[in-house]
Symmetry: C2
């Protein structure tokens, strides 16, 4: 995971700090007009999205004013949020006015850091990077500055049974930050401090609104992106997960504001514990349906002494996948192994005026001591040559490595360069390693046969496979075709004991696949937990748990 | 983690298998008398306990016939289960007769694989390796052969509101397998099959009763020990956790029989997923209070090509701890780093007629390619020399490595060799890395000042610290002194943001520390989840969640 590796740069810092990392990219929140643009992680602005080492997914708690007994939960009337494929389980966006008393209470808590300005509410209610559509916007947007303020906000909302929607980088894909039932959007971006840096313990305590890139490069803000809180909420990961794990593996503890406004610590700061239920992991990936994350203690990893970046071409996608699998089997702890199909390479050539061979390609990163990084490179070069690999190249110098890795890093933007006015349906599935080659091959048959332009990128070491399907947003049949392809790939993955999402999360987009993947007993257990921790159902009733689940 | 590393030996096996791995060590279960001995992991039988690479902790679901509204839950009357320190929260062992209808139903489900024989019930009710005492024994012991049978058993027990106590290797330390309220003990040892081996996916699907050593050495059973199911239930780990993680990190999914007898799959077989709440992790470490684990899919790790075992002496325990920490900070992925104090070394000398210098000692294992394992050894040798390390020795040949590692492996038995008729209070705590040296130093001051013999072994790379306190079981003041020392170390660890248990679990023994460690909000959240998933409270009411917790 990039952040964990890169975070160790923080170790050169001698003491904890608390700064406004975003000052150069985000304006004061009580100035609505200036706030709008920076928070949008616009693809037109060429900001990298999901091809970064950590997929930036949003901190998402949408909600509903529905009570537990509300008929619409057990008998949902679907409304159009995105295309057909994404709406099967979408709860009808019944709107309830936020009472004036609540507005007054929120003003008392947040002072100037709140707004009911329509433009700003629109920004916060829009799906920024996803192909799902919004049916409502929040009624109020608040910008708490502390966990205590979040606690008070949630307590008030719970008393008035008004939905709360935490909001971070808003880079999610599956509709996590939508407010189908209006309510209060809690923008966490003012809570962006590093609270404590424990170099010797290899951990860092942060507030949720801090961006992952900001944290990594903490003195030179790059631009907006996913926040650490949102990354916890969606259990996100990326290309480095093959070595460093997902958010699940890199969080030591969380501070969480529960639905009743009480504040819970999920664990101690020890790196290992057998004391009690694993509430840290329960919160990670719960997509804000169980609580609002207000503090995070993250593990730090030492930046490796040395690294090598390598690239190799293959006649077929199966050869490339086989080499990725054989590399994993070899016992080498590769830090990245990324697979790009020929369409993706074509996009990269077009966007960058390059002349890479337009055939399936693997990219690797090896880390360790200088000698060990080189030794791993040689072992994998041999594996590749045994599977029809050609043109194996590698780089050891910083500038060369950066140049080579840029190919992978700019893959998504290269897709948009092919079709500048198109939208993208981005989906991800994940299967046991041995099925990856077949999954990609069969998916590609379907993708290649489609009139739409589709590219494939896989975090091949994890069996995690992404597709970018480009479609003309003005043509409904193209959107439907994109959704058909998504549907096809998810069901193919599920037939291989895989999951409907390896790292993007459920949101509204993947709810409909959960029963097939996990079974009704699993969903009932999730619902029981949800009901126990959020009896007024103010936390995201339209997300993650399909509304038909009852017990 | 040993099992994950060693498991990869399974990869040489060409197809899934299902055998009676325990046939040489366990007799048919409907022959009660022959069953008794093999199931006991007797320390007198010199079976390794907690110094193995995975600490064998039992599969534990004790239970109670108490209903949610039973006054004794919120107002417990403590009874003596072990010494004072371990009983603060022990639920009164109110006994309810198992109704004859339930016995008939169980016979219908298990046929000859059940017993009400008193000797056998006594064996299953006794704390095998812990210093906690039993106040009751189970009324029936059943030996299901499948998840379907477990489901039927639990369904029946739930209808009759009779406690269920899953039971595996019974090697736990904190009273997890006690039956303070009688009920039905579910011995899982007949469910010991490997259901599927997916070499290409690097995973294996097993039943819970399979032993970890049996699984690792699956064709040559070594002897009894912790079962995989129990290891999941207690979130256990060991010396290899510093590289391979704990059970939390090595389980892909679980099959769980819930309190109502329904069977739940916690996740798909993909190695990475963002689909839904992390019910796998919720079950791992829940100590059987939320369900009975009936199937496990484990990650496999490739056995490293090469390894080096090294040992080094230090003038002070602080020097040794500092080297362990500096090694972790160096970025080397050491596979083990174990710290032994001078008392422990003296015990080893006495037991094995050796002449090791009786001063603080570190033991390491480095893995990788041959060149890389050696390179890591050299780096750490340099670190050690900078911290007053002397007599750095290392071994590369299999026999030499085995001989060297034996010192660490037999540490616990060496303690008993010093005081053959004594009992041991074994405790573990875990703190952020930077506090380890101070924790051990201050603990040792207290231990050294005590009239009891106390040794220290630490999984130093994780900040995880064990103490073995030997006491004469016939002398109550010695038991009390052992408990005082335990109490002292736990509170010291908690004052350093640590945990009351890094890997042994809560059981009955550590419940009283949870509120100080986690706060009442955390405990209330656990209780809400427990009540939601087990409304009749048949699953382990006297374990893990302190009975005073209410909301």
């Amino acid at each position: 995971m990039a952040f964990s590796s890169l975070l160790s740069r923080l170790r050169s810092c001698s003491k904890p700090f608390c700064n406004n990392l975003r000052t150069s990219i985000i304006q004061r929140p009580h100035n609505p007009s200036s706030l709008i643009e920076p928070v949008i992680c616009s693809r037109n602005g060429k900001t990298p999205l999901w091809f970064a080492s950590l997929i930036p997914l949003a901190f998402a708690v949408s909600a509903g004013s529905l009570s537990l007994n509300d008929a619409s939960l057990s008998d949902p009337k679907s409304v159009k949020i995105g295309g057909k494929g994404s709406t099967d389980y979408a709860v009808k966006g019944s709107r309830r006015e936020v009472p004036p008393e609540l507005i007054e209470e929120l003003k008392g808590i947040c002072q100037e850091n709140m707004t009911t300005d329509e433009d700003e509410r629109c920004v916060h209610g829009k799906p920024q990077n996803s192909f799902h559509k919004a049916v409502n916007i929040p009624d109020v947007v608040v910008y708490p500055r502390s966990g205590e303020e979040v606690s008070k906000i949630v307590k008030s909302c719970n008393l008035h049974k008004v939905p709360v929607v935490p909001y971070g980088g808003a880079t999610s894909i599956e509709g996590h930050t939508l407010s189908p039932n209006g309510g209060v959007c809690i923008d966490m971006t003012l809570m962006n401090c590093v609270k404590a840096l424990h170099v010797e313990d290899m951990d860092v305590v942060v507030e949720p609104g801090i961006g992952w890139m900001e944290l990594n490069e903490y003195l030179e803000p790059y631009g907006p992106g996913a926040t650490i809180g949102g990354m916890c909420a969606t259990r996100c990961s990326g290309s480095l997960a093959v070595r460093y794990g997902t958010m699940r593996d890199n969080v030591i503890n969380l501070k969480v504001v529960l639905a009743d406004g009480e504040v819970m610590k999920t664990a101690s700061r020890a790196r290992k514990s057998a004391a009690g239920y694993d509430l840290t992991r329960l919160m990670i990936g719960s997509e804000g349906t169980l609580g609002v994350i207000t503090g995070i203690t993250l593990r730090l990893q030492k930046l490796p002494q040395s690294s090598v970046v390598a690239m190799c071409n293959f006649p077929t996608i199966k050869d490339a996948a086989d080499v990725a699998i054989a590399t994993m089997h070899s016992g080498i702890q590769v830090s990245r192994v990324e697979l790009l199909d020929e369409v993706q390479i074509r996009a990269i050539n077009l966007a960058n005026d390059k002349k890479l061979p337009e055939i399936p390609t693997l990219m690797f990163e090896f880390v360790g001591t200088e000698a060990y990084a080189r030794e791993q490179t040689q072992i994998v070069q041999k594996i590749a040559s045994e599977h029809n690999g050609t043109d194996f190249v590698f780089a050891e110098e910083p500038e060369e490595k950066k140049e080579l890795w840029k190919i992978r890093k700019e893959a998504l933007w290269a897709c948009f360069a092919m079709k500048p006015h198109f939208e993208a349906m981005i989906t991800d599935v994940c299967v046991p390693l041995s099925h990856l080659a077949e999954l990609i091959s069969r998916s590609k048959q379907e993708l290649d046969a489609s009139p739409l332009t589709c590219t494939v990128i896989a975090h091949a070491g994890d069996g995690n496979f992404h597709t970018v399907v480009l479609f003309d947003p003005t043509k409904e049949e193209q959107r439907r075709e994109a959704e058909r392809l998504n549907h096809f790939m998810v069901h193919l993955a599920l037939s291989m004991e895989g999951t409907c999402t390896g790292e993007h999360g459920v949101g509204t987009g993947k709810m409909k696949y959960l029963e097939k993947e996990l079974g009704i007993e699993n969903l009932r257990t999730m619902k029981k937990i949800k009901d126990a921790l959020d009896p007024n159902n103010i936390m995201n009733p339209g997300k993650l748990i399909p509304p038909h689940v009852c017990f």
